[in-house]
């Protein structure tokens, strides 16, 4: 079996943030010691609320946002430094899809010109075959041939996102990082794009990191899911398991907060309070101020992410170790 396509170890990203105009800059750990492994062809979902560091993590996985500590290996090789020729060459193998396709596209270029750009930049397809490849890509993402000469503003939101995905696929990447790719789309179009991403991924054996706040979409597309809270992974498991029987109190609250048609609001866990300011991280477990089950140890000691059973990790003092009972 082949090794992981991407392996990240103890990633840390700190930003300097000023409190007020004249405040002293204080460090904010947006990503605080995250380790991940992504196998070829696998989809890892990353969920969390705004400010949990999930987008920063996505950018770090591609080397766009350099890590202050920790290391990333792509296909067994250490990630080259941002901006170096080696890194640029590697970018053909790993692509990024953002939430807002209009911001990701150049308004002055036609769709086909934009899809052809990565082919030119990475010198992948000779000029005479480029049009054929673009037509192939457009049909793969469900764009009509007559839309090739359209400009981004002439397309609908769903069609624009298709164009962005076609462009990302142009260089035949092995890894696709999608940051909220369907959040801006309507339900009926969202389903079209999610299905298309799944098909393209299976056909081309692309590994995918799917970042989203929408648990329902993540469950549908991801094989494995990591839940982030304030820069750390608090639980990770297969997507079938994690939404069925969430262990971490935060994951439980997240799952419970998803409105399900026909299920009344009563009896759901509604978390009190808001995610804390990352610049002012609570002591111990960062979730303890909002946790309905917090005890003394939660307030003082941060729980490490530990294996609960095979293929399942959680960072919580209160989650029992199902593999072996906790020694007294």
């Amino acid at each position: 079996m082949a090794g992981p396509i991407l392996q990240a170890k103890d990633l840390v990203r700190t930003y300097e943030v000023r409190q007020g105009m004249f405040g002293r800059p204080s460090p904010v750990r947006a990503v605080d010691g995250i380790s991940l492994t992504i196998m070829p062809g696998e989809t890892l979902g990353i969920v969390g609320e705004s400010g949990s560091g999930k987008s920063t993590l996505g950018r770090m996985l591609l080397g766009i946002d350099p890590a202050q500590a920790g290391e990333i290996a792509f296909d067994g090789q250490a990630m080259p430094k941002l901006g170096t020729p080696q890194w640029r060459a590697l970018r053909a193998k790993m692509q990024l899809v953002y939430q807002d396709p209009l911001a990701a596209l150049d308004r002055r270029l036609t769709i086909s010109a934009q899809i052809a750009e990565p082919l030119a930049i990475h010198g992948l397809v000779p000029l005479e075959h480029r049009q054929t490849r673009v037509a192939e890509l457009m049909s793969a993402v469900g764009l009509r041939p007559d839309q090739a000469d359209r400009y981004p503003h002439e397309l609908s939101g769903g069609q624009r996102q298709r164009a962005v995905i076609a462009r990302a696929l142009a260089s035949r990447p092995k890894l696709l990082v999608c940051d909220e790719p369907v959040s801006a789309l309507d339900v009926s179009i969202q389903a079209q794009v999610v299905n298309m991403l799944r098909d393209l991924q299976e056909e081309n054996h692309i590994a995918m990191v799917f970042i989203s706040h929408d648990l329902k979409v993540v469950r549908n597309i991801a094989d494995r899911v990591a839940v982030m809270y304030l820069g750390r992974i608090v639980e990770e498991a297969s997507s079938d398991v994690i939404f069925q029987s969430p262990l971490h109190p935060y994951t439980r609250a997240l799952v419970s907060s998803v409105p399900v048609p026909g299920r009344p609001l009563k009896g759901r866990t509604i978390l009190q309070g808001e995610p804390p300011n990352p610049a002012n991280r609570p002591s111990g477990c960062a979730f303890h101020p909002r946790c309905p089950m917090a005890t003394d140890i939660c307030r003082t000691t941060a729980p490490p992410l530990r294996a609960i059973s095979a293929d399942r990790t959680a960072a919580c003092h209160l989650v029992a170790d199902s593999a072996e009972p906790v020694a007294a």
């Binding site: 706040h213 549908n220 419970s256």
Partner: protein, 334 residues
């Protein structure tokens, strides 16, 4: 107030809106009874927000609006500004998706709420401040007294939405129109705001219009819902009936397209195609080009919205799902 409690609070009749000659709203009929919660569901561009912006005279001047909007029998469409001002914010309050852009960034929060109290209820000074603090408490702003003099950027997105709701409540409205109030918020905060809206309605007895693309959220806040497509209501009914047995293929499609959090992981069922351009609406049923149940009549003749008593209303020539058993009110089972 001279209002007759049995009369509908708001009645929309054949409300039509056109921008630059392009018609986007094709005749909306909707009754809002006192204290009831109605959901308006549909995709972007279906006219769910425009309906209420038009009703309250909040659309730009280039919009041409026809039809009738009556609040307790008084016509609002074409009414002079003073009449509108007595209704807007006072009897009908509206909150929007993005709370931080609806609040004034250079005015202190307390001042913005007391301003609303001064306009709608003539309160001033300490009385206004006391009432503003009560409203802030009511919507769940912790430590309201200390945060009365803060600016909107010093609050989180969820708290800004709570403050918007507090301002909307300042006029003690009979109807709160909430336009995608939770869309921009995180999942756990979204649940808090939905909870707050339900609580406030129970406490104050105000009617609620909940505009959302999230069917799950609508089902929790509302008793009945209207599904809109391309500027028309295509199906309307009680939440349970609508969710258990959607009759319009579009409503059905919306449910099928929704990924689920429970049950087996299956492939999503999208609705093919896209929403039609309002400039080039198909003849006949606007949903026909995307519908799997079309007959020849769908392409030629537009289905009218037919009322079916307790079962709600439907605009479709070939409905899906089980036909309702009783056209008459169902008797209580023994």
């Amino acid at each position: 107030m001279t209002a007759d409690p049995t009369r509908n609070l708001v009645e929309l009749r054949d409300l039509k809106v056109a921008f630059d000659g392009v018609q986007v709203l094709h005749g909306i009929d909707l009754d809002v009874r006192r204290g009831e919660a109605i959901g308006l569901v549909g995709e972007s561009g279906c006219g769910k927000s425009v309906t209420w912006l038009a009703a309250l005279g909040l659309l730009p001047g280039k919009a041409s609006i026809t039809g009738s909007v009556r609040v307790d029998g008084d016509e609002l469409l074409g009414a002079p500004r003073p009449v509108l001002e007595r209704v807007r914010g006072k009897r009908i309050a509206m909150i929007f998706q993005d709370p931080s852009s609806s609040l004034n960034p250079v005015l202190r929060i307390g001042r913005q709420i007391t301003e609303a109290l001064a306009i709608h209820r003539g309160l001033a000074g300490d009385a206004a401040k006391a009432e503003a603090l009560r409203l802030m408490d009511m919507v769940g702003i912790p430590d309201a007294r200390r945060r009365f003099d803060l600016y909107s950027h010093e609050f989180s997105g969820g708290q800004c939405q709570r403050l918007m709701i507090a301002m909307a409540l300042a006029g003690q409205p009979d109807l709160l129109v909430a336009d995608e109030p939770t869309t921009a918020l995180d999942a756990t905060i979204q649940a808090q705001i939905l909870d707050l809206l339900i609580e406030l309605r129970a406490e104050t007895g105000m009617a609620t219009i909940f505009i959302s693309h999230d069917l799950g959220a609508v089902s929790q806040v509302c008793e009945r819902a209207c599904v809109m497509y391309a500027g028309r209501i295509v199906e309307q009914g009680k939440i349970d009936a609508l969710f258990d047995n959607p009759r319009h293929p579009y409503t059905r499609g919306l449910f099928d397209a929704l990924p689920r959090l429970d049950g087996p992981r299956t492939r999503l069922v999208p609705i093919a195609g896209t929403v039609p351009n309002p400039r080039h609406l198909p003849e006949g049923c606007a949903f026909a080009p995307r519908c799997a149940h079309t007959g020849p009549d769908c392409l030629s003749e537009r289905p009218q919205l037919r009322f079916n008593g307790v079962l709600g209303s439907l605009a479709c020539h070939h409905p899906v799902g089980a036909a309702p058993v009783a056209a008459q009110p169902v008797l209580e089972p023994a």
